[in-house]
Symmetry: C2
Subunit: 182 residues, 2 copies
């Protein structure tokens, strides 16, 4: 690593630039996400946990922590809240007594589908902020460079879940007459 | 807006994708940032406020809120902490009694420069995660698409400050013998 591959100056400038950009991007997305799920009495961590449990068809707390990019204690505490609301159940597996698993209840499943159906992207900041690129490219930008950086940081299994969750979203939106009709 | 310019399906998929990617990117950057400034007894909001006041050579609370992408009350409360530590001063301007301005004290300036000099990018997650792209492109990725989206969301004045702060970082790292020597 280091001096042969990059100068300290360019790395510092790049790091500074990425910090500003990724904070701005994330804060815009976070606001949209909060506004979307708040009417259902959830914060974004809780909604993320439900989503991960849904996409993985049951998930361990450490998987939630990893794929939700949240601390293990955050994953556990918010999962606990969701369990108390009857939206998911905790369990141990026969062959893996050390890890706690969570699974959506029917109520959790129904709530999550209701939330997904309510997703209104008309005022979505990032969607609207990307429309000029969409006009230019004929499609929304792909951000392949960003994906390459994230793959390098988080590894292939993170990207597998990422791709699986995108596939699920594709299936839901294409088969759901409420969203595919427009 | 809407149906002529994009289908609901593709917008939902794009929004979902950007949410996962930008959260993962920001959380990696946030960790690096926290580890960098923690030894100086600062959190990232406090450090961000010092940086903005430094780059703008004095700044109003609403500018800090805007360019730091944080709530006005967050900007005010953390600025208050910094004032109590003697790192910045509050003032009103003769021609603008409504806004509170903050300016770095000499102590604040010295601390900020010390922090900037301590910036070690060797273990920086995003720098390391971008090295394969750097090898491929001959330089760190530019993320022009991401900049276009952020410009559209936050406006030209946000980008002006972004560019000004990058210019300042360039000047500091190029003129500082501690970082340019390597």
């Amino acid at each position: 690593m280091s001096s042969e591959r990059y100068s300290i100056e360019e790395a510092i400038i790049y790091s500074h630039k990425m910090t500003q950009l990724s904070k701005a991007l994330w804060k815009a997305i976070e606001k949209d996400w909060q506004e979307w799920v708040k009417p259902f009495g959830l914060n974004i961590n809780e909604h993320h946990i439900l989503l991960i449990a849904y996409h993985l068809k049951g998930s361990s707390i450490s998987e939630i922590s990893k794929f939700g990019v949240m601390h293990v204690s955050t994953a556990f505490n918010f999962s606990k809240n969701l369990e108390e609301r009857g939206l998911l159940t905790f369990s141990k597996k026969e062959n893996d007594k050390r890890n706690t698993y969570v699974e959506l209840t029917e109520k959790g499943n129904e709530l999550l589908e209701e939330i997904l159906e309510s997703h209104n992207v008309d005022n979505n900041r990032v969607v609207n902020g990307s429309l000029k690129l969409k006009e230019l490219y004929g499609k929304f930008p792909e951000f392949q460079d960003m994906i390459a950086v994230i793959r390098d940081i988080y590894g292939d299994d993170y990207m597998d879940i990422f791709n699986r969750s995108i596939q699920n979203v594709v299936k839901e939106t294409v088969t759901d007459p409420n969203v595919s009709g427009k």
